[in-house]
Symmetry: D2
Subunit: 318 residues, 4 copies
């Protein structure tokens, strides 16, 4: 899978990066949370009861859209992420059953990197020069058996309005070409095309690029790059107070990066600077086909203590 | 690799071997799905667009309740289930960062049995004498690297009305004693106490027993038994057409079982006979405290192909 | 945790369930160990102190040959076996070190099917109709978290004479073609060619076929089949009292099998009938090149309780 | 288990250690291998064909001693190391068998930290201020999916003379008390007591302290500390040219450390400075009981590419 090339280029930049040690600068330039030194919710703080009530009013057709792709050994994964599942039937050797009820059962064991498939990036996922969200030094975050801070168990679950941005209709392409950045002009154009929609504080914004159509069809192209959010667009949305941002791509932000060497800068802006949670590989195709661009979204995660990310299936109701 | 062919030929002989198996009785007594031979959704078929619209009208306060407990090494687990999480920082040895943006990042690897914490039981979890939902023989379900049928990836996500049954208020106990069965009389009494509520086709029913309060406080008592749904109550609710049933206990059904030796008979009735999905360790305390007994529930799962279960965090909006 | 009690009661019912199983025939036709009902060593019982002393006299050049190939993600593996390794540096985030000694350290986590690479097959690996070595029913062997009997921890370690059979020189081929069976005539011819060697009771016999040369070169051909021991040859060697038999192939016995449908019959004869341990992917190239066909072999395994197999590196000294 | 306290104290020292960043000094003071810049064998280079022949002459009784303890969930492990084993029977649901031969089989999946039980420490395990053996910077060693250098697959296997040092007989104690250091005086005294033995270049030295007798008996005491090699003793043996050093304790070197804060300094001296491989939890009780103090030892490892350590079972023949 072409992501290996992506990985190689990163490994190269590792050696370049080696010259820059010491984090003094980083600590000066880090961003304190406006919600206080103990805040772990970030932009989710922008979701109010009014947001939820307003979102509920968007449920008109009574339809539900599950936004997850499948996670398995064939799902394109950022190297060296791997996936393995094992099914067992404890105590049922020889086909015997358990008890008078002749119980038969399966159990399952997951041995997998979490960041495969449709995923939620927690605030502990990405930092800037070993400083994470809310000016938290890496030493207070990293733990070999689970994050000490910003573990995915702190994600409170989300229910709010989601705005879907159909970039394919805007740009008249079934699949937006790799490397296409989405910044303020593209975002505003998409909103205008969708009936002069507005993005509100506390909303979740989901980009629809058609890129998910490459899954299993052209994994090599899929893994090598994709269209996505740009640096300016990230700051623009974050300043609007959005709670989460997602896309139907594996990395949300545009790849190749707008500026060479600025490795996952959009991730840094959203997670480390603004505390905006990220959704990847979330597919809005069904609603888009129905011509629906807003609804209520809910996100609930496997609440595994200390996880960095979660494999999720956001539910969009409209 | 060609060894796969070798394996396939072996798998073929497995199917030949099937003729020599005897669960004739089981096949006669199994329950065909009313939704056809290919149905994998079971009682979720009862959820209509009207259910979803009606559920949305229950969102009045604009509150959201995440219903999951945490999953970690301390979470009581049915033996021999174990949990392990590993955090890594690829390419960041010596504290170096990646690229000009000085990227730092964490990744996570989950090595865990899935059925730990707040979980969704898929239709492939439990069978009767090696026959699973919709009269499906185990041979068509079991796969060592993932279920061949009823894998959790087939769970379509749920949005519908949830009815919370506060058994603690009904019985005047902060924590309902272990071994207390909930059958039609208890269920109807709880509904009556909560303002003559009705359970509708397509609803999710959640029992609140206070049992979750034992977590980390008295794990020994918690693990040994708990109150829960009885055999008659399971059939009663299933016949009402409920889509899912859950509780704030690790096993939903009453333990010890009502009849000794009838191992997880309620699980068999719900999953194998009626196709009613099960939620375990789902906690409704917040809404109960608010005196709210109905709202919209959404359930989205990690869509890991072939999984039997999922660790979930249902979102209840009211 | 008390749930263990719950589990135990279920396991009890498993044994009750056993009566309803039918492998009567298998039990009649099974082979009792000549070393008694509790024997778990099988043909290793044939190794005496005289064997070891005699083997030590074969050490003439003072050379050592490690016989293992590498186990990693590229090693051909019988499906669905997979391999994964993770390296961690606990407590060393930001590149900090531990203590005044500025300790830096790596640790490693192995998540792998055991039967990949150079492996030792324990007596619990293969059975006949759910009956394993020494007429042991599967129910007494299988345990979901480790074999209850014949776990690799019972392997006592081996030091004895090893006889290398160079089938490539015998047949005048650099790589013996797939499907070539080795039975008594081929074995005796190889011994005769190597100076009328004799195989003694307690010896380890290793076939050299050159097949290992396909590793990483033609994995497809390698995985599809290989030359190896035949059914008659297996009984012949077992009756000579050899302690172990190995080869430089992934399955030791000839593939395709001599008789279609007789799946791994040689494994059954060696492991289940005679208690002869099996070594796979053991490479004797160095000694063969030196024209040496006998020496002292030692086999020590990772002594992981309940493992079926072990990834080993036999040491041949000559 | 008390090792948790040990871990805590180490975590404390992590924070202390944090003040000292930068490796310039380390690079100046690192030790180049006398066997060249590409050497990965270290002191194993001292083993010659003469060593092996001489060792073979020590095989007199024809006895074999396997030196490994078992590795399982009960084996004391340095935090946060964990162990898990899963047994599967692919394609055998309902008790069916494979083919006409009615094949039944078990397979096993190991999910475990490698450093549990009887282990071989590779040269990549321990470094000094991020510099490893042969002045190799950590950046050239660490790889998240396997060490880039000094992976255990590079261990060539060993056959040579082993000298057993019975410290219990020397000190007249059945179990040597924790914190007892072994330095030149103790080592020479033990050799003298054992008939004025000499340690030769290329030998493996094994300390017998009786500490293994605490396994499963007093794991708390076992995990908290133990007797072992001191800093001076380590340099003394390394300068004698020994190939490997082992003991029947989990950490070889004396714990608590001779000087507080000098975390695993003996490991650093042996692995990073001299390239002397380490064996832990190797038990020589059988030979000691027989009054035998020298013999031939062989060490073969699971040749898993990129592993830091290996779980081994050294075979001692005498």
């Amino acid at each position: 899978m072409k992501t290996k090339n992506l990985a190689s280029s990163i490994l190269t930049s590792v050696f370049l990066g080696l010259v820059s040690m010491g984090s003094a600068l980083a600590y000066e330039s880090c961003h304190k949370s406006k919600w206080g030194p103990n805040d772990q919710l970030g932009a989710l703080n922008n979701i109010t009861q009014d947001n939820i009530i307003a979102a509920s009013k968007l449920i008109k057709q009574g339809k539900k859209m599950a936004m997850a792709i499948e996670t398995n050994t064939k799902t394109p994964a950022f190297p060296p992420r791997t996936y393995s599942m094992t099914i067992v039937r404890p105590g049922q050797e020889n086909g015997q059953t358990l008890g008078n009820t002749k119980l038969s059962y399966h159990d399952d064991i997951l041995q997998s990197w979490v960041g495969i498939g449709t995923q939620l990036d927690g605030l502990g996922h990405i930092g800037i020069d070993n400083v994470f969200y809310n000016c938290t030094p890496g030493i207070e975050v990293t733990g070999v058996s689970g994050l000490k801070k910003f573990g995915i168990e702190t994600f409170p679950g989300v229910a709010t309005r989601a705005v879907l941005l159909d970039m394919t209709a805007l740009m008249g392409k079934d699949i937006i070409p790799e490397g296409t950045p989405f910044n303020q002009p593209e975002i505003e154009a998409a909103l205008k095309r969708q009936g002069n929609m507005k993005i509100n504080k506390g909303d979740v914004v989901i980009f629809y690029t058609g890129w998910h159509k490459l899954l299993g069809v052209d994994d090599k192209r899929n893994g090598a790059a994709h269209p996505g959010l740009g640096v300016q667009g990230a700051r623009y949305l974050a300043n609007l107070g959005v709670a989460m941002i997602g896309s139907d791509t594996w990395g949300l932000e545009v790849v190749p990066f707008e500026n060479e060497g600025q490795v996952f800068h959009v991730h840094q802006i959203l997670l480390a600077e603004f505390g905006v949670f990220i959704l990847e590989n979330v597919v809005a195709q069904q609603a888009i086909k129905d011509g629906v661009y807003e609804g209520m979204i809910t996100v609930g995660q496997h609440r595994t203590t200390g996880s960095v990310q979660a494999i999720v299936n956001p539910i969009f109701v409209y």
